[in-house]
């Protein structure tokens, strides 16, 4: 996370060898993305911040298949994985659509399907949900969550609530790594949030402003509010 212009997308491009560091070294699974780009790229998948930039083929299904073709996956398996990936992002029936005629959210889903079909060891996701509606966002987060034990996921986002389950949060500001914390610690650190132009999600923010303990879901918060109300009125009756 971090403010606009902080260097998040630059970092993603360095990890993939699309940018070359002026100094210092990058290693992905033990390989240098500059000298061994293919070793790195066959293990990583990138979702670009602008989903349009990642699309290469004239039809949706060919685009989703592109990464698999490059890995030399046999055709039968490829068909299965492409169909499954398209279905999992809710785009069944769009196989023969031309990507440039899709809506913003649909493009983002196609780009994501191309990545999910490959399921690389390392996923570099640059704001993967920026154009999705609420159900789409939930679905994508669920998929990413499902990968967490077996894959490495680098998830860039401006929505703190998407990182509540993350193992670590890196905060990048002005081209520097300014913090590396657990999501819970980040949310509790008002100064750190403020310095990095971050705002906690609505539920914990309301809870804090009301002086209630930590809450996750709207239901939790409503429960906490009601308990406080009942306590208050109970005290009065007594």
């Amino acid at each position: 996370m971090g403010p606009n212009g902080g260097g998040k997308s630059t970092l993603v491009r360095l990890l993939n060898g699309l940018l070359v560091p002026d100094s210092g070294e990058v290693a992905v699974a033990g390989h240098d993305p500059v000298t061994e780009p293919f070793e790195v790229r066959k293990r990583t998948g990138v979702l670009f911040q602008n989903p349009e930039n990642g699309l290469v083929a004239p039809f949706v299904e060919d685009d989703v298949a592109f990464g698999l073709e490059n890995l030399g996956v046999p055709r039968e398996e490829m068909r299965r994985r492409v169909a499954e990936a398209i279905r999992s992002v809710g785009l069944s029936g769009y196989e023969r659509r031309e990507p440039h005629t899709l809506s913003g959210g649909e493009k983002q889903r196609v780009a994501l399907a191309g990545l999910l079909a490959v399921e690389p060891e390392v996923l570099l996701l640059d704001e993967p949900t920026s154009m999705l509606d609420a159900p789409g966002r939930r679905e994508v987060l669920r998929r990413i969550g499902g990968l967490r034990r077996s894959k490495t996921v680098l998830h860039v986002t401006h929505h703190l609530e998407e990182l509540l389950e993350a193992d670590r949060v890196l905060v990048i500001n002005g081209g520097r790594l300014v913090a590396e914390v657990e999501p819970g610690r980040l949310m509790a650190d008002a100064a750190l949030l403020e310095e990095n132009r971050l705002v906690p999600p609505t539920v914990p923010r309301l809870a804090a402003d009301l002086g209630l303990g930590s809450c996750r879901t709207p239901e939790d918060l409503a429960g906490a509010v009601l308990r406080r109300v009942w306590e208050g009125s109970g005290a009065e009756i007594r």
Partner: protein
């Protein structure tokens, strides 16, 4: 942006027809046979027979004839010029009619008719191929047909991939131009108002960003391909299946017979 991203300008027209279902290699070979054959056809009747056969194929392809007409229109202009040129300058055979200082000789008319029909039929056949074959299958087909040459280190995959990208880049350029025009129109630029000169002048500020944009798109495309693990043909599999079956062989035979019929007539 979704809005206005009009129908892609690629010539492929998806439909569910026997021609669409054919193996792209069969179709490429058929067109090649037709091209060779057309150079051997030597009578107007022969050309008309080939033309009639192509018309049947258009019918079978379920592609609306208007799509072909749109493709043929620009070619027709060139053909008309060439034919006129022939009529005006070939001075063999009898004079059929005269107009002012020009005289149309029978040989000139014959040559003009042959030339015009030949070019139109060639273009129509090529259009039928691209309308019924998705660009990717087309390049897969070409790669496969060229693959025997790989033994001599002929870069079949690279050539086919270049063709795909070129085929894809025409619509991409179109798209890029459309985006810039939309972006400028949204900020008050006039493209549809005023006389011809004013409209052409309004297009000038589009050209510079278009040129820059085309190079940027090419870069982005290369980056996207590389970052998704592309590194040439080696070890690569194909999503689209090419399988040459009985019906493809039959279709190819029929396609070869068309110009043969034309030659015999």
């Amino acid at each position: 942006m979704a809005p206005g991203a009009g129908r892609g300008t690629g010539q492929f027209y998806p439909a569910d027809s026997p021609l669409h279902a054919l193996d792209p290699r069969a179709k490429i070979l058929a067109v090649a046979a037709l091209v060779v054959g057309l150079f051997l056809v030597d009578s107007v009747a022969g050309f008309l027979a080939v033309g009639a056969a192509l018309l049947c194929l258009v019918q079978v392809s379920r592609v609306p004839p208007s799509t072909f007409l749109r493709l043929l229109r620009p070619v027709a202009v060139i053909v008309a010029f060439t034919a006129l040129f022939q009529v005006a300058f070939v001075r063999e055979g009898e004079v059929v009619f005269g107009l002012w200082v020009f005289q149309a000789h029978s040989e000139g008319l014959r040559l003009a008719a042959h030339l015009a029909l030949r070019i139109l039929l060639l273009v129509a056949a090529a259009a039928l191929l691209t309308a019924t074959t998705p660009p990717l299958s087309l390049s897969d087909g070409i790669e496969d047909l060229l693959s025997p040459l790989k033994r001599f280190r002929f870069p079949a995959h690279e050539i086919a991939m270049m063709m795909t990208i070129a085929l894809r880049f025409i619509p991409t350029l179109h798209e890029e131009a459309r985006k810039i025009i939309m972006a400028q129109a949204a900020r008050g630029a006039d493209f549809t108002e005023g006389g011809l000169i004013q409209r052409v002048r309004a297009l000038v500020p589009v050209l510079v960003p278009l040129t820059v944009g085309a190079f940027r798109r090419a870069d982005e495309l290369a980056e996207a391909m590389e970052s998704r693990g592309y590194r040439g043909g080696e070890g690569r599999t194909r999503y689209r299946e090419l399988s040459f079956r009985g019906r493809d062989a039959t279709a190819l035979c029929i396609a070869v017979l068309i110009p043969v019929g034309g030659i015999l007539l």
